[in-house]
């Protein structure tokens, strides 16, 4: 009996780390690459999002945004966000070119000014529309934006997960590290903990309501971001995902920005 447990535990050990030579960093990177590989190839999609913001006083407020995303081979995705509500910013749209390295390119069309303004700023760590999400949390996640370290495997909400840390490469990031819970079967990010510059727990993101699209891609319906320090929270819900809707490069430039409705 004792002998059997011994053998079993050895087997489990090898199962947990298939290659003994792999460092936690290599394993972390491998997981991120696999995640990225599984996410590739969707080409483009549109989806609507609603953010419900809450402060410590219990006040609530909402933001409505329509999103269009175009996958770009060899670089970060392009996205176009059209703000529907609050009413005062209706028609304002944001064009964003994510880059694997370096600052993103951002243009904003202000209908009240009838002009497109390029935002020249190295900042993407600030609050996104007053919510607990930072711009860097919602923009497209590229492998090159972080370095990685696998921590452990554990069960999380009934699903077997990789738990790994990732460290932003971006020097102005508000975070020192993020701890990610990624389910091993479908590579869904179930939870991320964000640690601030003093390495104190700042926020927790919980994702739920995953659905599979195109028989391949798992996207969450709800993203809940709680700021533990300020007591504020934001519930971001996605709806109406549509894939491969015929979007192309010409939908993602300064001119299309003005016309975006």
């Amino acid at each position: 009996m004792k002998r059997m447990i011994y053998i079993l535990s050895i087997a489990m050990f090898f199962n947990a780390s298939p290659s003994a030579a792999e460092t936690p960093e290599e394993k972390g990177l491998a997981i991120a690459k696999e995640d990225d590989r599984r996410d590739n190839g969707f080409k483009n999609f549109t989806a609507d999002m609603v953010m419900i913001l809450k402060n410590r006083q219990g006040e609530e407020s909402s933001r409505h945004i329509r999103n269009k995303t175009l996958e770009v081979e060899g670089d970060g995705d392009k996205s176009l966000s059209i703000f529907d509500r609050p009413r005062d910013v209706k028609g304002t749209s944001l064009l964003n070119f994510t880059h694997k390295v370096g600052a993103d390119d951002q243009w904003l069309y202000l209908p009240a000014l009838k002009r497109v303004k390029r935002i020249s700023s190295a900042n993407k760590s600030g609050s996104f529309m007053g919510s607990t999400f930072a711009y860097e949390d919602v923009t497209s996640q590229e492998v090159e934006k972080y370095t990685y370290k696998w921590i452990r495997d554990e069960e999380h909400k009934g699903e077997k997960c990789f738990v790994f840390e990732r460290y932003p490469v971006y020097e102005n990031s508000g975070y020192t590290r993020q701890v990610v819970w990624l389910d091993q079967q479908d590579y869904k990010i179930l939870q991320i903990e964000f640690y601030d510059r003093k390495n104190a727990l700042l926020k927790t993101l919980t994702q739920s309501g995953f659905k599979q699209y195109l028989d391949k891609y798992w996207y969450p319906a709800a993203m809940y971001m709680e700021n533990h320090q300020t007591g504020k929270s934001t519930l971001l819900t996605w709806s109406d995902y549509k894939f491969q809707t015929g979007l192309s490069d010409k939908n993602f430039n300064k001119n299309s920005l003005k016309r975006a409705r």
Partner: protein, 776 residues
């Protein structure tokens, strides 16, 4: 009663071997609660949970973000902030400040988000980046931008550019009392490191967190320095009055027991110490010693007169049990009436001291006689004739009763008219004297950079997204302009400045567009654009609520008096009433406003407390003296010292605050003892011994005059010790109580006898005129 007290004495002697270990056990159990005691490190403890100003401020902070802070004031020795060297240090401190525990935001000249137009690009960047590599022209530009920026001038930079601030917003979860010291220790280490690395720069530290920490330091400091001093004084007084080793030893034990029990029970009940309640040991010590002295003085007096020890113990308890109980009870009532206070630390002080005083009574009538019964007592036959002076005083008072009566009335009246000169003034950053580094640094920063006090408003636009409404913005701008013109206002932080700057940026940095956007959607879209380009921690969440329906408005003030604060806030209210829509109406909220109101609130509540204490104490006196008339008369010598004290204070100081507001009931409970002793002897002489009122006054002087004088000396010493506290409230409390004890002695020795004789209407009036007649 007498027989029962005599029985009580026998009982104590019989069970002495039970009482002594039982006392030790009781003290041990209670005292083990002291390990649960800790010092509060948050100025908010001065406010009850439902204090309306606290609630308003908490609401404001919950709507936006907290604004407790740590401020580094960086002063280059060459007096020039805008040099490569100084800016590099500012940049370094700014970066390092993100690592301060619980920091959520850092603002400085270096990370100020400078916006400018480059064609159709909006550039948003740190005002200072890589300071060491800047050119002279860039330095000039940076200086010009900083000085022209209303959101920085007189907050982070002076017009002279000789000192600059790095302001760190600290968001303590308020879950552990170690949070404040943790921040302070970290920041001080940071300061030391920078100071060492850059000797050409002075760094001063201030902010709410440092004030909170000073509360902690003050409480601990007082406990460590004042209590031993008080013990020393008591030892000296006892050495002179008792001249007995074992008596002194046991008294010291009783005082320690009383303190340990009072503080231990406070620990068990979860009280968190403040500089106010940290005084409880000193006050218990002062009050507890009197009980033992009364018991021991009689005991030794009887033994000197040849009575055996047990007999002397019985006699001492017979004579003293009731007065010691009554005086302890009245003192406890005085302190318990602090529960009327709006400020929890005073309630805690009242409850701890009341407990200490009552257990001191218990120990003095059980443990003390039991110990005396056990310990070997030797008595030297000494002739104690200290009474000569007191008897002469009594004779003089009887002789000069008319002069004293009218003279005292004139003095009391003259002092009474000074009472209105007391003006409420609560400068909370001046609670600490200059032995605290916080006070020194803060004074310097206030004088050279920016104010410590502020008033904040949450100005509501009345609808979701309404802060972009041009009407709202115009009103906000006018309010800002008005506020900036008010005296003592150094700085106003408001949204309109940001919007005006953005409007200018959006129009190619054309100065003529440095004005508010005129369309609602335009303003909203500017804000969206701006928000999208801000870095971590520097967003607008601290200024705009999530619904974009209200903004935060912050005015930073120079050191202001409470009167000036109220005047400013009232004028602001009036301005808003006249010029703003009703939904924009908002009361100022801030620690300054909270502390400004608390003195007044506390004075109102303590009036009730004093009335309660006075009524209860008078009722007790009616019962004890078994005379309704004497009970009523007793209110006069009890009230007179209060009138005199507040008159003297109004004439000499004139500023009253939180501490002064609690003096009346505390002092009342203490000084009433004199009246109790004097009147009970007077009554005994009149009724039991059938003496005339003059004779009765003389008898009272002879029997209790010395004891009253002695206990007053101890009380005065005890409360004078408090005046050495580095915490202003304690010093004031000590000083004022001292005055009231002296006034009470004057009232009981000089006024009460004359009053009693007047009311008795003695026929022996001519005795007054027969000079030199022997009255003994």
């Amino acid at each position: 009663m007498n027989t029962s007290d005599s029985c009580f004495g026998s009982w104590v002697i019989r069970f002495r071997w039970l009482i002594i270990p039982a006392t030790f056990l009781l003290v041990f159990v209670a005292a083990s609660g002291t390990r649960l005691l800790s010092f509060s490190t948050d100025y908010r403890v001065f406010f009850s949970e439902d204090n309306p100003q606290l609630v308003a401020f908490e609401t404001l902070q919950n709507t936006y973000t907290k604004n407790d802070n740590v401020m580094f004031a960086v002063e280059p020795k060459d007096g020039r902030v805008f040099t490569r060297e100084t800016l590099a240090v500012v940049e370094e401190i700014t970066g390092a400040s993100w690592k301060i525990p619980y920091s959520i935001r850092v603002d400085s000249v270096s990370n100020f988000q400078y916006t400018w137009a480059d064609g159709d690009d909006l550039v948003v960047q740190d005002l200072v980046k890589n300071a060491a590599g800047l050119t002279d022209a860039q330095l000039k530009k940076i200086q010009a931008v900083a000085l022209a920026e209303p959101l920085m001038l007189n907050r982070l930079i002076t017009r002279k550019s000789d000192i600059t601030g790095v302001n760190v917003t600290i968001n303590r979860p308020q879950k552990s009392i170690t949070e404040t010291p943790e921040v302070v220790t970290f920041v001080r280490a940071m300061r030391d490191e920078f100071q060492k690395k850059y000797p050409d720069i002075n760094i001063y530290l201030t902010g709410v967190v440092f004030m909170d920490n000073a509360f902690n330091e003050a409480g601990e400091g007082d406990m460590k320095s004042l209590v031993p001093v008080m013990y020393g004084i008591v030892l000296i007084v006892m050495a002179f009055s008792l001249r007995t080793f074992w008596g002194t030893f046991t008294t010291i034990l009783i005082m320690a027991f009383s303190i340990l029990t009072g503080m231990g029970l406070a620990g068990w009940s979860g009280i968190r110490l403040t500089p106010i309640s940290a005084n409880a040991p000193t006050i218990i010590l002062t009050l507890a010693v009197a009980d033992s002295i009364h018991v021991l003085v009689t005991l030794f007096y009887e033994m000197r007169n040849g009575k055996p020890k047990y007999e002397a113990i019985r006699e001492s308890l017979r004579v003293n049990h009731q007065p010691v109980f009554i005086t302890s009870l009245t003192t406890a009532i005085g302190f318990l009436s602090l529960n009327f206070s709006d400020s929890p630390p005073f309630r805690d002080l009242g409850n701890i001291v009341a407990t200490g005083v009552m257990v001191a009574y218990v120990y003095s009538v059980f443990f003390l006689p039991a110990m005396m019964a056990v310990l070997p007592l030797r008595v030297k036959a000494t002739s104690s004739s200290q009474n000569g002076f007191i008897d002469a005083l009594g004779d003089w008072v009887i002789r000069r009763r008319d002069l004293l009566f009218w003279g005292m009335i004139i003095i009391i009246a003259a002092l009474a008219v000074q009472i209105p000169r007391n003006v409420i003034d609560e400068k909370f950053n001046e609670y600490f004297d200059t032995r605290y580094q916080f006070r020194i640094d803060n004074d310097y920063v206030e004088e050279h950079l920016t104010g410590f006090e502020s008033i904040e408003y949450s100005l509501n636009a009345g609808e979701s997204g309404g802060i972009s409404n041009p009407e709202y913005l115009k009103t906000l701008e006018a309010f800002t302009d008005w506020y900036r013109q008010q005296p003592r206002v150094m700085y106003v932080g408001t949204l309109t400045d940001t919007l005006k700057r953005l409007n200018k940026n959006m129009h190619g940095d054309d100065e003529s567009f440095y004005r508010l956007p005129e369309e609602r959607d335009l303003a909203a879209q500017y804000l969206l654009l701006y928000e999208l380009s801000l870095p971590f921690g520097l967003d607008l969440n601290n200024q705009i609520n999530i619904d974009k329906s209200s903004t935060r408005f912050t005015a930073v003030l120079e050191s202001v008096s409470t009167d000036e604060t109220f005047h400013l806030e009232n004028s602001a209210q009036e301005w808003l009433r006249k010029n703003a829509p009703p939904e924009m109406a908002s009361h100022g909220a801030s620690p300054l406003i909270m502390f400004s109101h608390i003195a007044k609130r506390n004075i109102d509540s303590m009036m009730k407390g004093t009335a309660f204490a006075l009524l209860l104490i008078s009722a007790i006196l009616v019962v004890v003296l078994r005379s309704f008339k004497l009970g009523i008369i007793s209110t006069i010598p009890n009230m007179v010292p209060m009138i005199m004290t507040f008159g003297i204070w109004g004439w000499a100081v004139g500023e009253v605050g939180l501490a002064v507001s609690v003096v009346a009931p505390v002092a009342l409970g203490i000084i009433v003892d004199d009246t109790v002793h004097f009147l009970s002897k007077y009554r005994r002489a009149r009724l039991e011994l059938g003496k005339s009122s003059e004779e009765a006054v003389r008898y009272s002087f002879h029997t209790v005059g010395t004891a009253l004088f002695l206990t007053s000396v101890i009380l005065v010493c005890g409360f004078l010790v408090l005046t050495f506290s580095g915490f202003r409230m304690n010093a004031q409390l000590g000083f004022m109580t001292t005055i009231s004890i002296l006034c009470a002695l004057a009232a009981d020795f000089l006024f009460l006898p004359a009053l009693l004789m007047k009311l008795a209407g003695t026929p022996a009036r001519k005795k007054n005129y027969s000079e030199g007649e022997s009255l003994t």
